[in-house]
Amino acid sequence: MEISTHKNVVIHAEGLTKIYEGVVPVKAVSNVHLHIEQGEFTALVGPSGSGKTTLLNLIGGLDTPTSGKVWIHGVNIADLKKNQLIDFRLNNIGFVFQAYNLIPVLTTRENIEFVMLLQKRPKEEREARIKQLLEETGLRDKENKRPSELSGGQQQRVAVARALASKPQFVLADEPTANLDSKTAENLLDMMARLNKDENMTFIFSTHDQRVIDRARRVITLVDGEVFSDTQSTMTSAHA
């Protein structure tokens, strides 16, 4: 099979299937083909149990498919050994989780810096990136606060900043607005849309949230683990 190595192709998935073995095997994702390009603002939607999170995990290399393959910038992630895959995730993928999942003992600044330290980036570069991300996420005045001192929306902003800190190829966000009230969710979406536009950062969300769906330029609907529809928005940017 020929894989597109065009520089704009970030993610390419072929025949992705994930079956959870058990007394009754469950097919969470079934024969999904996917092609994501740089700068997309894509929503994976579908009812609960439709396989959104599983698909994100497969794309992000957190889970291994029962069959099928995922290429990220032309690299088949199934060919990577465990530690190589962890390093690959560190350098290529940003994660935003539904429950924020920040490191509670670290401040905002330290949470953002953490992945860059794992990447062993020089101090000057880290400082510049932290400053930039704090500005972009509007967290300048919260840089020395711990997660417990921040609201849900602020914590999710820190999570987004952390995801972007490593300068990843794309960001996978699993229901990022699920725990947020509508105003906070709107603010977060504004911020991500701005980052998408300004930094040409690729965002892929799994979501139930109509507000996210409305803002996405591409909506992939999953039903019972299969792609039910894949529609492009007529909007030219993620801005509402």
Partner: protein, 405 residues
């Protein structure tokens, strides 16, 4: 960063971490103190045995120890003693005449060991003179004077200036007897010695035994106690008709105790650390299991296994590194204090200790090397104790871990 996170992680649950820190601290304090107590007791016993009983080495006739027959005197004992008194390695030496027999007072009699000493030389080898609590110690001019233990005095119902009669066999096997007046009464930590040993002038006993200027025993103190074994070998080579024995052969139970003390103490320490390690494992396992989602997240965003392992190991090591120096410092203070003032157990175990030759005031002591050893063992224990929690963390599946509520 890992160091900073590990340090901060310790203080997430302050109470739990403090409980572990205090447990390790108290465990080490108690462990180090017990070591110091045992070392102090054994060293005291060793010093007492060398100072009052066996000296660094002794020379006998090879057959003497078998049946204590007075005819087995040290071959050329007097010239051997003179040689020793002029040897630079020798701090002090003395010759003794010995006999076993009966001692009788006006009311009763009992068995005893009669030790004929040259008072001046004896004083340079033993500190026995300081044990005399009533009357006086012997002098070279004394004739038919004797020093007996308090326990023996009580048994014989005698006091100072009372008369006792010693009966024993001379070199020919003839029963001889001599009357002696009690000049001094001694008390000593060792109840057996206090009840059995009687000290009299060497010339008095030699005359009754008919051994003239011969001796049954030469006791020697060296300047350097480390040289005992070498010196024993040297004497044995130079005087093959004698039997030269170091204190380890003369008091084998003491030699065994000293030789095996290190191993016993290590085993004891390992048992304490093993008990502590279970507490550490339990705490760290709890700390890992309540952070499953966070650990899953760390693995997801790119923390590799080595870093995760290092972080959890550091958390354990940090807790122990707080506890261990504090516990050891506490132990050092206690040991230094009691090492000077002494731990007086005379109200509790005086009789029991005396029966085994131990003093009931213990002066705990612990060489600095043991503090280092304990510290190293503790760090090793902390590392080993962190293995199971760390491996548990490494086995987590990030996908399942992140979903964990």
């Amino acid at each position: 960063m890992l160091v900073a996170i590990a340090w901060k992680n310790i203080w997430r649950n302050k109470v739990r971490s403090l409980v572990v820190i205090i447990a390790v601290m108290l465990g080490l304090w108690a462990g180090a103190f017990i070591l110091a107590y045992v070392f102090g007791m054994i060293n005291q016993r060793l010093q007492d045995a060398i100072g009052n009983e066996v000296s660094h080495l002794q020379i006998h006739h090879p057959e003497f120890s078998k049946d204590f027959d007075p005819k087995y005197v040290v071959h050329r004992g007097d010239s051997v003693l003179q040689m020793l008194l002029h040897d630079d390695q020798v701090k002090a030496a003395t010759g003794r005449v010995l006999a076993n027999g009966m001692v009788a007072s006006a009311t009763t009699s009992t068995g005893g060991k009669f030790i004929g000493v040259d008072p001046n030389l004896e004083n340079s080898v033993t500190s026995f003179q300081h044990n005399v609590v009533a009357g006086e110690y012997l002098t070279n001019d004394d004739k038919n004077k004797i020093i007996i233990g308090q326990r023996l005095a009580n048994k014989l119902k005698v006091k100072l200036k009372s008369k006792v009669v010693l009966t024993f066999q001379d070199v020919d096997g003839t029963i001889v007897a001599g009357a002696f007046r009690v000049k001094g009464i001694f008390q000593i930590y060792n109840s057996t010695l206090e009840e059995n040993n009687l000290y009299l002038s060497r010339s008095d006993l030699a005359e009754l035994l008919k051994v003239e200027s011969e001796v049954h025993e030469i006791a020697v103190l060296l300047h350097d106690p480390e040289q005992v074994e070498n010196y024993v070998t040297l004497l044995q080579t130079n005087y093959p008709l004698t039997l030269t024995q170091g204190w380890k052969q003369l008091a084998p139970e003491l030699g065994l105790m000293i030789d095996s003390l290190d191993q016993y103490m290590i085993i004891f320490l390992v048992i304490i650390l093993l008990a502590l390690s279970f507490g550490i494992v339990n705490t760290m396992l709890m700390a890992v299991l309540e952070r499953v989602r966070e650990i899953g997240m760390l693995m997801a965003i790119g923390m590799n296994k080595m870093r995760l392992f290092t972080m959890i190991s550091l958390e354990t090591i940090f807790m122990v590194m707080i506890a261990a120096p504090t516990g050891l410092l506490l132990a050092y203070g206690t040991i230094t204090w009691l090492g000077t003032s002494g731990l007086d157990l005379s109200g509790l175990y005086q009789e029991g200790y005396a029966a085994f030759g131990f003093k009931s005031i213990i002066y705990p002591q612990l060489d600095l090397i043991y503090y280092y050893r304990i510290m190293l063992l503790v760090i090793l224990t902390a590392f080993l104790a962190s293995l199971y929690p760390a491996i548990t963390a490494l086995r987590l599946d990030p996908v399942k871990a992140i979903r964990k509520l």
